[in-house]
Amino acid sequence: MPIDSVFTGLSWNPVHDVHELFTYPFMVHALEAGTIVAVMSGVIGWFMVLRRQTFAGHTLSMTAFTGASAASLAGAPVAVGYFGICSLGALALAAATGTRRSLSSESAATGSIGAFALALGFLFVNLYHGALNGLDSLLFGTFLGITSGQVLALLVVAAVAIALVGLAARPLLFASVDPDVARAAGVRVRLLGLGFLLVLGLAVAETSQITGSLLVFALLVTPAATAQRLTTRPLAGVVLSVVLALAVTWLGLALAYFSIYPVGFYITSVSFALYLLARAFA
């Protein structure tokens, strides 16, 4: 396929093209929302990868889909469904896995919750007959039709979540890499674990609204995993993770704007390409 027929909107004049990105309010909202989501997922994703909770993140994204489809069915705002169900999902994960140390039982419980959540979401989508073209955007993301109210909601949630993680950064790092010693030093390891799962639930709920439930990893895992390959310094790692998530989001949104393919595909592909580069050279 000739590239001109994919990037139908592109004039191939960079100044003009960048200018055009900021012309329409819907695109400005998409860039704002994408920026907020990228910063949040960069920070929280770094801790998630460090804590090896990517599977928990994946499971929460399944519940995110359930929440969004349930909200559509009930006629409620989709964001309410995302945030509500992701918090519930985080609590369920904490209850199912909190007391056990063994990773295998943890992942089995986590996987079971995820499968059930996905099945419920599928049921809700079927009950809600009108959702057929909504299904794609729930699963694979969309950047169309984001309102300034939604941007504000994203901003508030992201600010709270980042503030919480910033406040708990050191004990959380301690509890993540060295739980036994952290516990002896007085760190509330289980409480932090629960708190982090809740914040992760918020991050997944936010990210889902841009990338869709199935492609959450593109922003939450891949930039963080790339950053951890490139640096072992905690602060530098978090900053790099945010920078990568931002770059991936902006590029993905721009590519999607000018082309006929969906945004989730571009964000994921750019993200994955950076990860492969980091693996190859670092």
Partner: protein, 264 residues
């Protein structure tokens, strides 16, 4: 000051008595090994000292207070802890977490941060890990990780060090090296050290005392008095023989799963 004092102590885990009638005393500046077969309750003692394992009888005084109240003055190295290859955190960061990892927020630039950095550098140098402290800890060898973990346990200037099987998984020269390092730290920093070990031989020359757990209780004394035929026979209640091999190593005969065996 007495670092650890237990009187007629008893510990139970899910209703089963692990040990009872345990009375031990460890002073500041003493290097004491905790020996005994697997499951005899060596780690339980460490957890009891930290207040993580409540005693059902007897009393315990740790650095002049009840167990758990003085943990900020105790350096703790848990059993068989190693970081796998995918742990992308530098050794020096792990040491630093031992210093202020429990504090809220992130370290801000300033005088306190410079003091902290200097203290971390100092203990890293003390354990001889300066060369590799900047590398990801998961990529280091067992001996290198162990030295950094000892640095982590030391970084807050503890008055009591609890090292749970730090020599496990190290080769013999490293066992002797780490034991010598611990003895030097014990002397220089005037810190009491309880070191849980599986094999007394690589460390016996450095020890001030031995606490030997077996048969549901423990005896304490000088190394050559405790690891001896008569003491161990009385402790186990079955005939035990302690032999000295021609290379000077002590060999305990008659009790299953003891010195020289490395059950995991």
């Amino acid at each position: 000051m007495t670092a650890v004092e237990l009187r007629d102590a008893e510990a139970r885990i899910v209703g089963r008595t692990i040990w009872r009638d345990v009375s031990i005393t460890v002073e500041r500046g003493e290097f004491v090994a905790v020996l005994g077969p697997n499951g005899a309750g060596k780690s339980t003692l460490v957890r009891a000292i930290l207040g993580l394992q409540p005693l059902v009888a007897g009393s315990a005084t740790i650095l002049g207070a009840r167990p758990g109240e003085t943990n900020d003055r105790i350096g703790y190295l848990p059993q068989r802890r190693s970081f796998d290859e995918s742990t992308r955190i530098r050794g020096i960061d792990v040491v630093r977490l031992g210093l202020d990892g429990a504090r809220w927020g992130v370290p801000l630039p300033g005088r306190r941060n410079r003091t902290a950095t200097a203290r971390v550098d100092h203990v890293v140098e003390l354990v001889g890990a300066t060369e590799y402290a900047e590398r990801p800890i998961g990529e280091l060898s067992g001996g290198e990780q162990q030295r950094l973990l000892i640095a982590q346990a030391l970084v807050r200037r503890p008055q009591l060090l609890l090292l749970d099987e730090p020599l496990d998984s190290l080769d013999l020269p490293n066992q002797v090296g780490v034991a010598g390092l611990v003895r030097d730290i014990c002397r220089e920093e005037d810190v009491a050290v309880l070191l849980v070990a599986h094999d007394v031989n690589p460390i016996i020359g450095y020890l001030d005392g031995v606490i030997y757990f077996a048969a549901g209780t423990a005896v304490e004394g000088a190394p050559e008095d405790v690891v001896a035929t008569q003491t161990l026979t009385e402790l186990y209640g079955v005939p035990i023989e302690v032999l000295r091999a021609s290379d000077g190593r002590l060999v305990v005969v008659g009790a299953p799963d003891l010195h020289g065996h490395h059950a995991h």
